[in-house]
Symmetry: C2
Subunit: 334 residues, 2 copies
């Protein structure tokens, strides 16, 4: 910018005015400056600008895994809102590693992002307190933060599962197996709670042998299926799966079980938490409790921008609804 000023024979400040379209510059002077900009190939350094202005017009997004369609759809929606405000977005995946999440979050804060959207991992987000205190806006998504008071956007997990279980109960199922993710994960805990509460409210007993909770591995799910469907004296006639990764693994294992002729006479009814691509094209189509990841992302981004715009708002907790989409698998009778 200095070089441009020298080349145009004006002061630095005048170049700044032209570059930023500030009013009150003589058109002829402005033209001279633009000529110099062109000739030198000048491009404003937004890093320097940022340093002086005190905000960076950038936000960070930290998810479990950007390659997972749920998170990538969410992130894309955040991008969209950010673009509207002229903000750029950093992204980072941390899987289920709390330490990696922390490193990413602090790295984003060191770059002085104005805000951060984060799917919290681990049981303590207190490390973000100084950052938030220093002015970084934070919105927690999909799971609430622990030990820290901040905006969050959650899904009505309990209500979603309730819809699915009631759907199965209404069709006469009484032996409904539940296969969920590791119980440390907030959503996994909420969802299995929805299962228990719905059965109890309907006057049924909980049979622990019909519940399996673990990170989804083929062997673990295979074992759970064999226990619930084959070796039980009164096998499950229906399954509820706690997320789409589990659903897909269950479908693969069911197909193998059927092919292996191990005595699975009828495919159990199935309702899945989470919608997924091609669920409608399978035979039968998979009935799901759909979340809306784009809406989750949009809502989080809107909360974030509201908070960045200032004011002393008290933390907000939004809970988004789910939708049951019947496609066949959840309508099978016992």
């Amino acid at each position: 910018m200095n070089d441009v000023a020298a080349a145009a024979g004006v002061a630095l400040k005048t170049v700044s005015r032209v570059v930023n379209d500030e009013p009150g510059v003589n058109p002829a002077t402005a033209e001279k400056v633009r000529g110099a900009i062109e000739a030198l190939g000048f491009r404003r350094n937004d890093g320097a600008r940022t340093l002086r202005r005190g905000h960076t017009s950038s936000i960070g997004v930290i998810v479990r895994d950007l390659a997972d369609p749920f998170y990538s759809t969410l992130t894309r929606a955040v991008e969209e809102v950010a673009l509207t405000h002229g903000f750029l977005v950093f992204t980072g995946s941390c899987d289920e590693s709390a330490s990696r999440q922390r490193e990413l979050a602090l790295a984003f804060c060191a770059r002085r992002v104005d805000g951060i959207i984060i799917v919290p991992v681990g049981d303590d987000q207190r490390y973000l307190e100084p950052e938030i205190h220093a002015g970084v806006a934070a919105v927690f998504v999909d799971r609430p933060a622990t030990n820290i008071d901040a905006d969050s956007v959650l899904v009505d997990n309990v209500g979603g599962v309730r819809k699915g279980i009631e759907h199965l109960l209404a069709r006469g199922h009484r032996r409904i197996g539940y296969i969920g993710d590791a119980p440390e994960i907030f959503t996994a805990g909420e969802r299995v709670r929805g299962y228990r509460e719905t059965l109890t409210a309907a006057g049924h007993l909980i049979d622990p042998s019909l519940i399996a909770m673990a990170s989804p591995s083929r062997q673990g799910i295979r074992a759970a299926l064999e226990r619930m469907l084959l070796s039980s004296p009164s096998p499950a006639t229906a399954l509820f799966t706690g997320n789409s990764r589990i659903t897909v693994t269950v479908l693969r294992e069911l197909a193998e079980l059927e092919a292996s002729g191990q005595g699975l006479e009828r495919r159990p009814a199935l309702v899945s938490f989470d919608d997924f691509d091609l669920a409608d094209l399978l035979t039968p189509g998979v009935t799901v409790i759909a979340q809306d990841p784009a809406r989750i992302g949009r809502t989080a981004a809107e909360l974030l921008f509201r908070r960045m715009e200032g004011g002393n708002l008290s933390p907000v907790r939004r809970e988004l609804p789910t939708r049951l989409i019947p496609r066949g698998s959840g309508e099978a009778l016992p």
Copy 2:
């Protein structure tokens, strides 16, 4: 940092030394400084650091759509490599809008990213020339850049299609329909070229009525299917689909066509360019020519870091292989 220095009673430079773990600081002094850092909740401003040092340790990634599994998997792989080098990554989606891509790319450059990975849209990337000249490393992915000489990572589209078509020819198919994306898109053009070349090399004539190229809409694909499969005097016995979005739409339309009883007696054989989730769980499983998006991303990131590390390398063009995965749909006989 100034405040820390004052609180610790040392010079700014000493604080800088402690913060950056530079050697040659008296342990007692260092301890005093660390105490002040703790007390004041000091966190280094990486923006200022960046301004002084001349590089930002960040890169930008621009894809068509982060919500698309192909691009999100690619981006996740880039993230992984970046993390290894201690770099942060900006992401942006531009769909097929060249102007939005340009804005994003220039915004990243204004933030002085050290490098940029980009799936080019539009027919001219010359606008990036000054940026590259100014030192931004650039790697083009999935499609080559136009009017600019830079590293690129492509896929062997022609070879991939050849494998698929030969697979169908070997099973006796002679009427093979091709449904591809808009021909302006580089990969779409390459793939249909692979189709033509393979048929010609095998001594067959090209029948234009068996080729449909357009952005995938349900109606367009429905019309193409009706033309190729129903109203033709000698209908296609096999289809090759140019990408997974098209494949999925074709599958939906085939299912509807079958259900509607419009005279589709047998489902044609099908080979798809691009693998996709659940392709193995459909009935029949979908035979695909698989790309490896994670490998594409990793390769691009490695090229980028190689280039950022300097040297005066001439532009490299990598072409990654594809893999045919037979799953049933491509093995059906005419």
